[in-house]
């Protein structure tokens, strides 16, 4: 078995179809991240534009009304920081 393969060809569904719809949610895209968004709560006006622009749809509102990314999925692409009308989001290096 090749160390690069995730399964034997015999176990693939017909035509490589996916038989369990919605399983894309298991894909941890967060481990692609090299930059991490950081929210300045003083500047944030809770407009939700970051959540609307997020290509992973992984930003949701918390109990205080702030929009927070789910870092299991956040790729650190920086679209949210770029679109924020108040420059409330800055991209810092992952792990700092």
């Amino acid at each position: 078995m090749s160390k690069q393969a995730i399964m034997a060809w015999e176990d693939l569904a017909l035509g490589t179809a996916i038989l369990s719809p919605g399983n894309a949610k298991e894909l941890r895209t967060g481990d692609w991240r090299s930059l991490k968004p950081k929210l300045d709560e003083e500047k944030c006006i809770k407009c939700s534009l970051c959540a609307m622009y997020c290509p992973e749809f992984c930003i949701s509102v918390d109990a205080e009304g702030f929009y927070r990314p789910d870092f299991y999925y956040c790729k650190g692409c920086g679209v949210c920081a770029n679109e924020c009308p108040k420059d409330a989001i800055t991209m810092g290096k992952e792990g700092e």
Binding site: A5, W9, L14, G15, T16, A17, I18
Partner: protein, 391 residues
């Protein structure tokens, strides 16, 4: 037991598609295939065939709509030729990779430039690697019969692949031949309704055609390769079943002329019939001549071909397509690979002939035989009948 009629071969193919009770015909007209889908559109318009006819704006769309219909679980048919087949190219891989059964007639035609509406195999030889089952008919009856068989083969649970029936453009498509049209009840008994294994269904959602990351793509291609190779015994079985039901026998590879002859012609498609006449005449003249006709092209019937050529010392392989810059023509290339390293392998002489509708006559086959016998057909291949100041 069917009725024998004089019918243009294109219309005979349309009859077969009607008898197969297809659900969807998605097609764009292109010479020399047009009469097939034109006739089918008449059947649908008149209510004679209860199917959706999708008149698309290009062959790319024809194959895309056919793919969608197959994914929805329909029995699907389309037909094309030449530039149309080339325009379908990228979708053809998707249909086989997604394991969608469907049947397509390719009325083989040369590719431009220069523009040629006439027959050769340049169109299908550019699509050798698409992962479809590919078979060649030699005459009108075979075109009808193989079309019926193709649905049964493609939809077999052990296969689940798309299939192309090649018929030579004009030489077959536009010629009126005596053809036996089977009764509908006979066809219904032979070809039961299609039962898809997977289909688009909101109650049981599946995802077709996802991304295949490097960790899975090789395994996905292995699955396709195994399906194509594994189709061979099913093709054989379905053809045998057809023979039992309709009393017309077809094999993966056919032999003609003297069995065990030292020199064999190898043909594919309608030129085989012209060659048969030449071989008959050569035998009548006392020559040691035979012929092997390849019917199934993908998967290539290796064992059957080797058995049909047992004892031969020379194969005169006719290629109806030119692969510029290649070592030889596509059929000869296949056969050289097959014979490489085998003890007692025959000499393979490759003649590229019949390009863009150029006739290859009985007399010319006999000339080839004489030249092959005298050792004058050498080199990797010879383009037959090229007019040149050098000759």
């Amino acid at each position: 037991m069917g009725k024998r009629v004089g019918l243009e071969v294109s219309l005979a193919v349309a009859e077969a598609v009607k008898l197969a009770n297809v659900d969807v015909v998605s097609a764009y007209p292109i010479t020399p295939q047009t009469h097939i889908v034109e006739e089918l559109s008449v059947y649908v318009a008149s209510g004679e065939l209860d199917a959706e006819f999708i008149p698309v704006e290009s062959e790319h769309s024809a194959m895309s709509a056919a793919l969608g219909a197959a994914a929805a679980g329909a029995r699907v048919y389309t037909a094309t030729a030449s530039q149309g087949l080339a325009l379908m190219h990228e979708i053809l891989f998707i249909v086989s990779g997604m394991r969608m059964p469907m049947v397509m007639t390719v009325a083989n035609r040369a590719l431009s430039a220069p523009i040629s509406i006439w027959n050769d195999h340049g169109d299908i030889m550019a699509e050798r690697d698409i992962g479809w089952i590919q078979i060649f008919a030699e005459n009108g009856q075979e075109a009808l019969d193989l079309t019926l068989c193709a649905f049964k083969i493609a939809e077999d649970k052990r296969v689940l692949l798309p299939m192309i029936v090649n018929i030579d453009g004009f030489t077959l498509s536009h010629v009126i031949e005596p053809v036996i049209i089977p009764d509908h009840a006979e066809v219904d008994a032979f070809l039961p309704p299609y039962q898809p294994v997977l289909k688009l269904d909101t109650q049981n959602p599946v995802t077709f055609g996802p991304v295949g990351v490097p960790e899975v793509y090789t395994e996905a291609r292995k699955q396709l390769e195994q399906a194509v190779i594994g189709a061979k015994p099913v093709v054989d079985e379905v053809l045998a079943g057809f023979g039992a039901a309709f009393d017309r026998q077809y094999k993966l590879v056919e032999q003609n002329g003297k069995i065990g002859a030292k020199t064999l012609f190898v043909t594919m498609g309608s030129l085989g019939e012209t060659c048969m006449t030449a071989v008959d005449e050569l035998m009548a003249e006392g020559q040691d001549a035979g012929q092997t006709r390849i019917r199934l092209w993908r998967p290539f019937p290796e064992e059957e071909f080797l058995a049909a050529c047992a004892g031969a010392e020379k194969l005169v392989v006719i290629d109806r397509a030119l692969s510029p810059g290649a070592v030889c023509g596509p059929v000869a290339s296949e056969l050289k690979s097959l014979f490489y390293g085998r003890p007692g392998a025959p000499e393979i002489i490759n003649v590229i002939a019949g390009l863009g509708g150029r006739d290859v006559t009985v007399r010319e086959f006999k000339e080839m035989f004489a030249l092959a016998g005298s050792g004058k057909l050498s080199g990797n291949y010879m383009m037959w009948g090229v007019e040149s100041h050098a000759s």
